[in-house]
Each structure stands twice: as C-alpha cells, then as structure tokens.
Amino acid sequence: MTHLISLGEFEQVVLLAILRLRDDAYGVTIRSEIAGCTGREATPGALYTTLDRMEEKGLIRSWLGDPTPQRGGRAKRYFGLTKTGRAALINAQRAYQSLLCGLDILGGANA
C-alpha cells in the first residue's frame, strides 16, 4: 500500500523551487528562487533543516557537484525530487486546487 507523506507549507515551497531549478538546485539557488517567487527570505538554518528532513523522509535526494574556486574549493550539494517527493507534492497541490475550485480569489481563473 502506498503511503503518501503529508507536506508542510514550507516543504511544498522548497519542493516547488527545486522543481523549477531542475539540475541547478542547491542551497543558494533554492533560497534565491524562493525569495524571487514568494518574496520570502528563508534563513539558511530553516532551509537546511527542511532539506535534511525531506531527505530523511525520502522526498528528495542529494548529490555533490564539483568543487568550485568561488566557494573556496567546496562542492555544491545539489537536490532533486524523488518519486515519493513528486507524488507527495502532486497530492498536496491537488488538495489546494480542489479547495480553490469555485473560489474567485485569483481573479476568476479558478471560478
């Protein structure tokens, strides 16, 4: 039996940012993507906690890139969604969509 993991609001924001960034999702870009799209400046502590927790839950996976001189020879840790993460995100978004359905709060798009 497939057990869908429920997602918190910030978890969904981070997952969507990772999806949008495709192969370039690491700490700095995820943070700036969230800031650019939502206007919300996530603190590094909150972001890394969420990323670690979601990796423990199997929602995302991470891998190390090549070291870069800009970062003092330190590698970037890239993130990507797993099948479980994608399914959980779709499930959460469907719930939002069905709640929005029939409401006119987005200028009639969902009315």
């Binding site: 700490g27 700095v28 943070r31 590094p44 502590g45 906690t49 800009q70 970037k76 840790r77």
Partner: protein
C-alpha cells in the same frame, strides 16, 4: 579564508565533513553579497536550528528516565506496597522499574528528536501508557485485562507491520543496552565502594561516591541515547535492511 575553515571545522563537529563543506560553500557565496557578520550570524543559526534537538532530548530524557526510576521506587506496583517491593521480596520489580524507566527515556528522547509521528515514538508511547496503567491500576481486574489485550494488539501490529517491527527492534536494543549498562555501572560502583569503604571499617560513603554515581548515570544515559540514535538512523531510515519483510 580563515573564517571559512573555522566555520567548516565547527559544522563538521555536528555533521559529515562533505555536508559541512557544502553548507559553508553556500554561505561563502552569499557572504560576498551580505558580508562577514551575516556569514557568522547564519552559521550560528544553522548550528542552533539543526542541532538543538539532540542536547535537549538527551537532558529531558535523562531527567524523565531518572525521575521515573526514583518515583516508581516509592510507588506501589500492582497493589504491592513499595516497602515490600523494595526489600527484595519481589526482585522482578527492580527489573520492571528499570525497563519502565528506560521506556520513558526512549519516549522522551524520541519525541523531542523525531517528533510524535515517528514510529519509535508511537510504539514507546503505547508501551508507556499500558505499562503505567498496569503499574497504577493493575490491581483492578478490568484494567489488568484491558492492558494485557492492548499489549497483545501492540505486539501483533509490531510483528505484522514492517516499520513498526523496526521500531520494536530499536526499543528492544535500547532496553538491552540500558540493562547491560546498568549492570556494568552497578559493578563499577560496587568495586569502587569496596575499595573506598572496606566492610570492616563501616565508614560513611565518601563524597567521591556521589560523583561516581552521577558519572555512571550520565554514562548509561549516553549509551542509551547513542543506541537509540544509531539504531533509529540505521533501521528507520534504511529501507534496504531486511528484517523479514
């Protein structure tokens, strides 16, 4: 550059070196825009946010486990007064106290570290509630039967469900480590006592006995917390381990 090396060393105390390096790398990238103060402020924030649960869980579990052990020694268990149960007429009760105290230790530790949705926390909670009911209301037949039925159900679910079976293994191992650690601590304490206070002199215990007792309690708690943490990481987060799935 020195600040990056110090920051990396600091983070590596709490996580893997590669993960620490990647976080410091991220902060270094942003440092060019936001400055050195922001860099250190963020680093401290990362350390606190990522790791506050571990020391808090340890201290809270130690306090609750120890309080449970002390409190149970003064409580009548299943209708047997503490005076009787404490003077070795019922030696199995000492084992029950220890098992229940360790269970409360696991419950507190797992609740703070992993949250209420964690399987280990849930199993420890179910076992703690039924054990507490047995201890405080076990003399009433209805409570006794209800607790036994509940425990049988918990055992059945733990055997049938993979995740709960793993949680049961975590709790069993922590209980075992706690008992072995307790026996070892008692042995060391007795050795020390025999050396420091020979039977022939009948002198009062020296102050160092208190310190040794405290050290032994802390050592036991550390062993149990480490066992719980390692087994949780190994069993609950590694789905490839075969436990008869």
């Amino acid at each position: 550059m020195h600040s990056a090396l110090i920051a990396e060393w600091l983070l590596a105390r709490f996580m893997g070196r590669k993960q620490a390096a990647s976080i410091v790398g991220d902060l270094l990238e942003l440092k060019q825009l936001k400055g050195i103060l922001w860099f250190w402020y963020s680093l401290v924030g990362v350390v606190i946010v990522l790791f506050w649960r571990r020391p808090l869980a340890f201290v809270a579990a130690l306090i609750f486990g120890f309080m449970a052990f002390a409190g149970l020694q003064a409580t009548d268990i299943m209708g047997i007064p503490p005076l009787l149960s404490g003077n070795y007429n019922y030696p199995w009760m000492n084992l029950c106290w220890v098992l229940f105290a360790i269970l409360l230790f696991v419950l507190t530790y797992a609740t703070i570290r992993y949250g209420l949705r964690d399987r280990v926390t849930q199993l420890a909670l179910a076992l703690s509630i039924s054990s507490a009911l047995l201890i405080y209301g076990g003399r009433q037949m209805a409570v006794l039967v209800a607790c036994i039925v509940f425990l049988v159900c918990v055992a059945a679910v733990s055997i049938l469900n993979t995740e709960r079976r793993r949680a049961a293994v975590v709790i069993l191992i922590v209980e075992s480590v706690g008992i072995v650690g307790g026996l070892w601590a008692a042995h060391v304490f007795n050795l020390f006592f025999d050396l420091a206070v020979p039977m022939s002199k009948r002198a009062p215990a020296p102050p160092s006995a208190g310190w040794l007792y405290l050290c032994m309690v802390l050592m036991m708690a550390w062993m149990m917390a480490t066992a719980c943490s390692c087994m949780h990481n190994w069993l609950m987060r590694n789905s490839s381990i075969d436990l008869g799935d």
